[in-house]
């Protein structure tokens, strides 16, 4: 082993040290021969097939002609059923709202924990893009990756197009009238038997009223509400600590010191968009003295962990011990006393935590008391949450709390409630079950026994968009509207209502779920399309509007509410409660830690599995592991060795008689004997995109766990066989002997510390000055010149920009097999580099896209001039000229060009993306590329052209500020700036002149127009 390698394994490789070695994967770190061999080649093995005459078929002339004739005849016959291209004159009667070629925007709301205030862009009545609603108090113009991708759900060709009734082992198509009549009759016949309506959280006051009306009509009806991922443990801990209310939101922007315990507040915990936006306010490079400092203690690398200044790896079941020790340490120094017998030094020794780093943490928390915050993750036990509440209390951090969350209108059912329901089902006391857009068969823990119990119910009705595990076991399946086809109102926070309106009429024979239920409450009246709209307006007019004192007529108010998407209220948000110290007696002792612990977490994109059939989200590389299309068991390197497994090998996980076989992935930074699995995979009944991907770890959820339902002690053993998990983390690595170790030598990642920057703002470039010469004469850009800057201090690696780019630029889904060959088509990617050791890595993220180089090396080598340079600095692609030599991709030092090895729309899943319904998602302003064509980021040229047309129409000069790119619009932390780099006042121009600005591979003199602002880590000046 080399001396350097020994140093790395010891952890002497942190970014602040001299020339750290960056690595993307363990294979690269260990100089695995397979990785080294692969990195010598431009394309992955099997991507290009050499042309060998000897391998050609020896078919005879006669047979060839016969086959040609037969093929022509068959093709002729096959083409007889050609695809309908629509009317030649689309608008004989043009709708008043539509101007061909001019987009309309509608404000609406999606039911998402990111706030879901959206602005939907439509073209000729067709929704094509979702962005955040800038008027929405929570969204403030930004939404999460799931919201961006949810437009694909509207055009999912596998949406259920009409009502279905169970017939034998399958389903038959029926009409709505028949379904309504039969179900109404069955509900009336239920008599005293319970009618169970099972729903997710209800935040809509009008939906709630519909459910109440339903209960009035059918008095035996009972409403059950559940969420797979919820804040019940956090809230119950809050109520024990403070007596009432729900756990507060946190003003992350006011926190100087943040300690996150197994919490992913920048990823999956709470509102990631709002949290990130507030968090990066403390990462402003123009105000380095007010940088916040993030400490993370966790068992598996999370998005928050990737952004930590100091990270400790600790198994999640030891968190209570850690917090109790921290309370004692801080309590001792603040004279607030000890509450247990744990000491920080013994905990540090027991779990191999750096005592020096812990001292820095303790000092930071004490010095910054009142402006620091300790945050516990959702999966941790109630005791840990109580301990964290107390710690914040003694540190005086409660002033950072914000009491704005509204409680769900129907309290979430407990596991015991659901168990009682299944017990009633089994004993025949339940006459009907209605799945109100929920999927309890997939979501509920095995202990609840729902799947078996439902078979005893005479009438099971599922209201759903797509086939699900629950609809499969139903007698009637009723298709419901997508959120973009629905009316509604939401109240998720105090202070405003969020309005939902249909931006398109239902594209299939579906109905709004509330309207279906409402229709069953009415006697002998015909269903009308506006049934729920009339009900909604009537509820607002009678019950909500009068209290608003709006000072206008209801009709005017209603139009304004829909236009803005929000209705603001003046509501009190104060909370008065004091910490109940008697609760401390419950948390004095932590459970013994031994064996393996399994942590079940929310997937950042698929959530609880409801987005499983969304190809954009399935193919989006995981922010940390970069794995696509599957979930996996993340374990540490040492644990892998102990179990005798490598990446892709199966392990068996056993919990209380239940077991799961799942492949492992060695995740740097994981704690030993900890297995982390993200849920949402292993769907057996959904569309073809989501079916069969990954493994259903819901079977491990344990309501009876002594820790929490998602944190379980388990037996883990090596399993038989393996399963290939595909990761994009090593893609686009291209090193040869000359450029080996390029990342550190070439400064692809450049970073420093806040103290370095304050002492010497020029530290990044000092000693590295060089003069670059070129063979080519320079080109003077006298007018507007487009450029982008990316602030790596604000980039959390969340991938919202990637989904927005997919949606804007018609990027196809290629499938797992093609991702495995390095053929994913994303124009923008997030490269994740590790430094440090395998056990204690530090992460650096870098957004990588076409750099639109002034001296673009791709342009020189194109034999057909398919890639050229525009006078405003854009590196352009002319798809019609491209003949697919791939010379440009070969010559691109950033590896950002993507080649269409197939017509992926046709190739993926038997033409899934060529379905007529799916085709409606495409942005008509962007060319849909086909096989044999190279493509790459265009800086959203269609938006630039639109702005140019507007400027010409208005007889004014085009300005850099007239254009935003899709990735820039989507970035929740506003890390991306775009504009005219010749305009000295533009933010992108200022970024280029910043002390921390650098260009990747600057020494190649390709003169890129994407500027990176180097990441600063707020570590202590003194080395640890």
């Amino acid at each position: 082993m080399s001396e350097r390698m020994t140093e790395i394994l010891k952890g002497v490789n942190q970014p602040g040290e001299k020339e750290p070695t960056y690595w993307k994967s363990l294979k690269q770190l260990y100089n695995d021969p397979e990785f080294i061999e692969a990195s010598h080649h431009e394309f992955k093995e099997g991507v290009k097939d050499d042309f060998e005459v000897s391998k050609l078929s020896g078919i005879s002339r006669r047979k060839f002609l016969a086959l040609l004739g037969a093929s022509a005849a068959l093709a002729g016959a096959g083409c007889a059923d050609y695809r309908d291209r629509g009317e030649i004159i689309p608008y004989n009667k043009k709708p008043e709202e539509v101007l061909p070629g001019v987009p309309n925007y509608y404000a609406s709301t999606l039911n998402c924990k990111c706030g879901g205030g959206v602005l939907v862009k439509t073209r000729e009545g067709r929704p094509i893009k979702i962005d955040g609603n800038p008027d929405h108090p929570v969204s403030q113009g930004k939404v999460c990756a799931k919201c961006h991708a949810s437009i694909l759900g509207l055009y999912d060709p596998e949406r259920i197009p009409h009502p279905l009734k169970k017939s034998g082992s399958g389903f038959e198509k029926i009409f709505w009238d028949r379904a309504d009549n039969e179900i109404k009759a069955a509900l009336s016949a239920a008599g005293d038997k319970e009618i169970a309506v099972i729903t997710h959280s209800i935040y809509s006051p009008t939906s709630y009223k519909v459910l109440q009306d339903f209960v009035s009509k059918y008095p035996s009806a009972k409403i059950y509400s559940y969420e797979l991922f919820n804040e019940q443990v956090r809230n119950s801990a809050w109520q024990k600590s403070y007596g009432s209310g729900v756990a507060p939101l946190i003003n992350w922007d006011e926190a100087k010191i943040i300690l996150s315990l197994e919490g992913d507040f920048l990823g999956t915990d709470g509102n990631q968009i709002e949290n990130s936006r507030r968090f990066v306010k403390g990462r402003d490079i123009n105000d380095p003295k007010n940088f916040n400092r993030l400490y993370v203690v966790e068992g598996n690398m999370s998005i928050t962990g990737m952004n930590a200044d100091y990270r400790f790896r600790l198994r999640p079941d030891a968190q209570l011990e850690f917090v109790l020790a921290l309370i004692n340490e801080i309590g001792g120094k603040l004279n607030s006393g000890k509450i247990s017998n744990y000491s920080l030094s013994s905990v540090a020794e027991k779990y191999s935590l750096s005592e020096e780093k812990l001292k820095l943490l303790v000092n930071d928390l004490i010095i910054n008391r009142g402006s620091s915050i300790v945050y516990a993750g959702n999966i941790l036990s109630e005791k840990t949450h109580i301990a964290v509440n107390y710690l914040n209390e003694i540190l005086g951090n409660t002033k950072l709390y914000r009491h704005e969350l509204a409680e769900p209108l129907i309290p979430l059912s407990s596991f015991n409630d659901l168990k009682r329901l299944t017990s009633s089902m089994k004993s025949g006391r339940v006459g009907a079950v209605i799945h109100f857009d929920s999927n309890p068969v997939y979501h509920l823990p095995v202990d609840v026994g729902y799947e078996d119990a439902i078979k005893n119910v005479e009438l099971v009705v599922s209201l759903t968009e797509l086939e699900s595990e629950s609809s499969f076991l139903s007698h009637y399946v009723l298709p419901i509207n997508h959120a973009l086809e629905s009316w509604g109102d939401y109240k998720t926070r105090k202070g405003f209502y969020s309005m939902q309106q249909p931006v398109v009429s239902p594209v299939l024979d579906t109905r709004q779920k509330e309207a279906i239920l409402l229709n069953w409450t009415r006697d002998n009246s015909e269903y009308s399309d506006n049934l729920y709209l009339d009900y909604l307006k009537s509820n607002w007019q009678q019950n909500i509007f009068p209290a608003l004192n709006a000072g206008m007529s209801f009709d005017i108010f209603w139009v304004g509410a829909l236009h803005d998407g929000v209705v603001l209220l003046n509501e009190p948000k104060a909370f008065s409660g004091s910490f109940n110290t008697s609760v401390l007696s419950e948390i004095q002792t932590a459970d013994n830690v031994s064996g393996f612990v399994v942590a079940l977490k929310e997937h950042p994109f698929l959530s609880d599995g409801r987005y499983a059939n969304n190809g954009w989200l399935q193919e989006l590389p995981h922010p940390v592991s970069k794995i696509t299309w599957d979930n996996y068991a993340a374990i540490s390197n040492s644990t892998a060795k102990e179990l005798g497994v490598e990446n892709n090998d199966f392990v068996n996980i056993e919990v209380e008689g239940r077991s799961l076989k799942i492949p492992v992935f060695i995740q740097p930074g994981s704690s030993d004997n900890t297995v982390t699995i993200e849920l949402g995979y292993g769907r057996t009944h959904t569309g073809t995109v989501g079916k069969g991907n990954g493994f259903n770890a819901n079977v491990l959820i344990s309501p009876g766990s002594r820790l929490s339902p998602f944190l379980i002690s388990a037996k883990v053993t090596k399993g038989d066989g393996s399963y290939k998990v595909v990761t994009a983390q090593e893609h686009h690595s291209f090193d040869d002997d000359l450029t080996k170790d390029a990342i550190e030598k070439r400064g692809i990642i450049q970073e420093g510390t806040v103290s370095e920057y304050i002492e010497n703002p020029e530290f990044l470039h000092e000693g590295k000055e060089h003069k670059l010469t070129s063979l080519y004469p320079g080109y003077e850009y006298t007018g507007l010149k487009w450029g982008m800057s990316i602030d790596l201090n604000k980039c959390t690696g969340c991938s919202e920009c990637v989904v927005a780019c997919i949606s804007e630029n018609n990027i196809p889904v290629v499938g797992k097999d093609q991702v495995d060959m390095g053929r994913e088509m994303h124009w923008i990617r997030i490269d994740r580099y590790y430094s440090g050791s395998v056990d204690e890595p530090t992460v650096s993220n870098q957004v990588m896209l076409c750099q639109h180089c002034d001296n673009a090396p791709c342009e020189n080598v194109c034999p057909v001039v398919a890639t050229t340079h525009s006078p405003d600095g854009l590196n352009q692609m002319v798809y019609n000229r491209c003949v697919g030599t791939r010379y440009c991709a070969n010559n691109c030092p950033y590896k950002v060009r993507r080649f269409n090895f197939f017509n992926f729309r046709d190739h993926y899943d038997n033409g899934y993306q060529l379905e007529q319904l799916f085709s409606l998602v495409y942005n008509p302003e962007v060319t849909v590329r086909s096989r044999g064509v190279m493509e790459k980021c265009t800086f959203c040229i269609q938006r630039i052209m639109k702005a140019r047309e507007d400027a010409i129409r208005d007889n004014r000069e085009l300005k850099g500020s007239d254009v935003t790119t899709a990735c820039q619009d989507a970035c929740g932390t506003s890390a991306i700036s775009f504009g005219d780099i010749n305009d000295r006042e533009s933010s992108v121009s200022k970024a280029r002149e910043h002390h921390l600005a650098y260009h990747v591979l600057e020494e190649l003199n390709v003169r890129p127009n994407v500027t990176y602002l180097a990441k600063l880590r707020n570590t202590h000046k003194e080395r640890v």
Binding site: D81, P95, P157, P161, Q501, V503, V507
Partner: protein, 68 residues
Amino acid sequence: MNIQNNLHTAKTINRKNFFSKVSKSFLGILLISSFPFNLFGRNSSSKNIKVKINPLAVKREKDVRKND
């Protein structure tokens, strides 16, 4: 004269046989175009989709976001 002789001697197809072959060919093409290709195609139920705007929704004229 020779031509007429040739016409009489050439192998001709009788009227019944001709119509029988035409019908069989038509049926064959109909079968080929309707059956085997659909076996491999997606079983889609989303054909002839019409997009209709909802006239009761309230639009915005333009995106009001600014690039700052």
